[in-house]
Symmetry: C2
Subunit: 592 residues, 2 copies
Amino acid sequence: MPSYTAPVKDMQFVLHDVLKVTASDIPGYADLDAGFTSAVLEEAGKLASDVLAPLNPVGDREGCRLENGVVRTPAGFKDAFDQLRDGGWTALDCDPEYGGQGLPYLMGTAVGEILVSANMALNMYQGLTHGAYSAIHAHGTPEQKATYLPNMVSCKWTGTMNLTEPHCGTDLGLMRTKAEPQADGSYRITGQKIFISAGEHDMAENIIHLVLAKAPGGGEGTKGISLFIVPKFLVNPDGSLGQRNSLSVGKIEHKMGIHGNATCVMNYDGATGWLLGDLHKGMRAMFTMMNEARIGVGVQGYAVAEAAYQNALAYARDRLQGRDVTGVKNPEGPADPLIVHPDIRRNLMDQKSFVEGARAFTFWGASLIDRAHRTGDASAEGLISLLTPVIKGFQTDRGFDVAVAAQQVYGGHGYIEEWGMSQFARDARIAMIYEGANGIQALDLVARKLAADGGKHVMAFFELVKTFLKENETDDRLKAGFLDPLKAASKALQGAGMYFMQNGMKNPNAALSGSYDFMHLMGHVCLGLMWAQMAKAAYAALDAGAADRDFYESKIATGRYYMARQLPACAMHLARIESGAEPVMALKAEAF
Amino acid sequence: MPSYTAPVKDMQFVLHDVLKVTASDIPGYADLDAGFTSAVLEEAGKLASDVLAPLNPVGDREGCRLENGVVRTPAGFKDAFDQLRDGGWTALDCDPEYGGQGLPYLMGTAVGEILVSANMALNMYQGLTHGAYSAIHAHGTPEQKATYLPNMVSCKWTGTMNLTEPHCGTDLGLMRTKAEPQADGSYRITGQKIFISAGEHDMAENIIHLVLAKAPGGGEGTKGISLFIVPKFLVNPDGSLGQRNSLSVGKIEHKMGIHGNATCVMNYDGATGWLLGDLHKGMRAMFTMMNEARIGVGVQGYAVAEAAYQNALAYARDRLQGRDVTGVKNPEGPADPLIVHPDIRRNLMDQKSFVEGARAFTFWGASLIDRAHRTGDASAEGLISLLTPVIKGFQTDRGFDVAVAAQQVYGGHGYIEEWGMSQFARDARIAMIYEGANGIQALDLVARKLAADGGKHVMAFFELVKTFLKENETDDRLKAGFLDPLKAASKALQGAGMYFMQNGMKNPNAALSGSYDFMHLMGHVCLGLMWAQMAKAAYAALDAGAADRDFYESKIATGRYYMARQLPACAMHLARIESGAEPVMALKAEAF
């Protein structure tokens, strides 16, 4: 069975050596001293290793069952969820006014990574609740907040997002679910929603569904869409649970992975709902959930990869097979461990350098969200909105690749469910699809985010890279291994942007044909920037006489690997982008 | 439920326009006129579409069950296997002396692709039998051949390969299974083997296990290994079945995919076996099976991808979502089909250009095998031995990528088992692992095949590319789209070979650290060569006034896509290779 240990040391390095959180001017960050953050992360790590990780294969094996309209979660899930709740883990970065602990989003992200690594399916129940919490927090009336938020902060009640219908996923304008206004100010919601994660289960007293539906008078397409709060049990004025609402789970899906999470078809049969936010402005409110969910899914991308990597590494050290061609390493044993072999190393280094780079990238992104929310800094808001599709799309694609690569280290055992490596790959697969399939992330990046506010945010990103290069140009230790490849990668990204500007206006397909490659190219530049910053921080720690020299030297070596072995992908992506729309669009649809 | 249609037209194009089989000097090829090959392929396609493909999800859902020592295959498998047998499909390229039809290996490969696309798990039962047939055919005594081959050709009896043990997969020198010589010339085989595909099942009267074991006096490591024939039921002198042998299935594995194939733990408890081939030369005999199996797995790589692609394409045409940004394509409908969107195109073109390129590459490889076997041409033998790890490793990696990409086209539905796209990805995953994990293929390619016979075969390969480029240099239609990118890719491959030569002698890790990238780089060059040849053939057909102009024009467009969008990977692989061993090996094992 796979095991998991929270990478607290690595997280501390990002928080304190790289982001230098306590020196930041973001309100609340001064409190994040190393003693505090390590205590929180260690504690989360304990829960993750001892409670959540052992349940991960159980959830996969048992899955959820629908019995007489009730979904039964796998054995042990409810107890574990209670422990999550009781430990206050669901309330970490929530508003203290509603019982939250008010910690920065950054801390919620770091803890979230740990919980997801240990058990992605279980953690989704609280992750979705958090998204629904945020939407109500941002768009709800004072009464709605008072009614729902305290119990959602504690996860006594959980939440869901209801967007997709059988005939429409990405294209929400096709939506058929209807909301009819009632005399008392409520709405009657009627329609079917599919792919509703945690839509029904036995771990919470109530489930607060946020449902997109069309109310009369809103016009065609997405303009007519509003967002509604539709609780499983209506809530009485005194806060107690009232009548069962007219909604039910039609079936639960049999999926490739995340078996421990119930993916439901939800039927709303004239269910009672209340408008959340403005009428016919549901898409805006929904995006509050969605943007947060996309960062969360980006975390899933590398968090599952981290768990897979830890186990691949342990197996590579343990499994004896073949001899090191440069000289026997384990003369007492019948063979050397797998880790002596260069191709196994290459594989492990691919995994390690991605996961650590993605962690730094994500934590940086989370700190931008804190800056935007806690200081109202519009440039931080703009930058994170640019980076969100990269965090989601790039990290889930590469995270899946890493889970598959980790499985490969196990040879045949990787394919046998009992060893647990298949589950990591199967679970990781969904992250590329939900909350906007990765092709949609690429579209969002290229068609919307690049051009947003006159291209200001992507310019700011390039400026950031340029400033870093400039500030460190005299550092000979960074030059060849880090600065030069980062410069080349950034230049490729700029070249791609230039290509889009020059060609996209007269032919949008010239840009859209390269959107996926652009997303990956930008992901590599972001991780390259992170690795350059991490190397700088590691050298600084070494110069300052840090005790654990091995740790910092490993950081530098891992970074050098990423720059040397991963950044060469940038030129490939640029070449593909610059080949334009013609090769992509040449065939008529009938000619395929 | 997914459907499948055999791509007969595309196969015919490769056989007749590209390989020009009837004009070849390989004995037996003159009979392969277009009428004959299309009749065979259409007939196989009918069986595949009507019988095998509908059973594919059944096999996945039901899996195999072990009951009282007997493995029950999924409902319908036995009937379908009988139809395979009765149609003579298992005997296609087998020796007529033993009831085979004596067709070229090339035809067996084309039909094999069809059967695998429709139902990989079911087809493995006969695929492994064919491997065991080949080993007995090549190394058996006349008596052994007479005893076993006729029933194996007809698949009345099936076969297996028993290599792996719990503690040793790749490193067969660690093997513990023992063979003790008996007075009557037989051996008593004792030990446990794992991952035995089709090790036990209910579709054949007897199962002929080929088992690697150590007989006394052979010395350490792989030198002491011999190969034995160990039938489930001993065969009486009159050919009837005798006593049950002392072997049994310990358990069947619960796997990520290929659920319809029984992967068994086999226990040999003093089972009676007979030496196959020379004592202590078991590795050689085993490689007869292995090389064939590796080509077969390379077929699985692109065959499953073909099936996944067909369904992704159908979905992309059918599913209405969003509008073409360059102008509405389906004004009567609520939205345009997915296929109008550039990123969906990119994805579909990635799939299509890989599958068709891999088909041509594999068919060419199969024709090299025919040339080697039927004419004794040592250079063909050398070339295919060089290409085998590329066919296996590159095609299964990319084939898996394609299955995952096809799943992505379905959005959320791709993750739901009911739609069948998950099965393609899960089934395809094993092909990267078994018959030598792809890292081993890369090692075989770089450490053995490149240097074999003084590097003669890789030189011959480069010569072949050079000759093609030279012969067509005046063809302006091919130049920019095909010849230039092929030349650049081939130059990158030569650069990589040069790097290995200059650095590998003093540091083997410099070559081994780049082996995986080299395998992929070479795969791209091979597919680039195939696409250039296919484009040439398509232009020739157009010039000759071929009726179906759309087909040939699509070929050229698809080839242009591969050259423009896939070959840029070559420079990336070269850059990685040239970064050498240092980034890969920098970390000590303890420092990970």
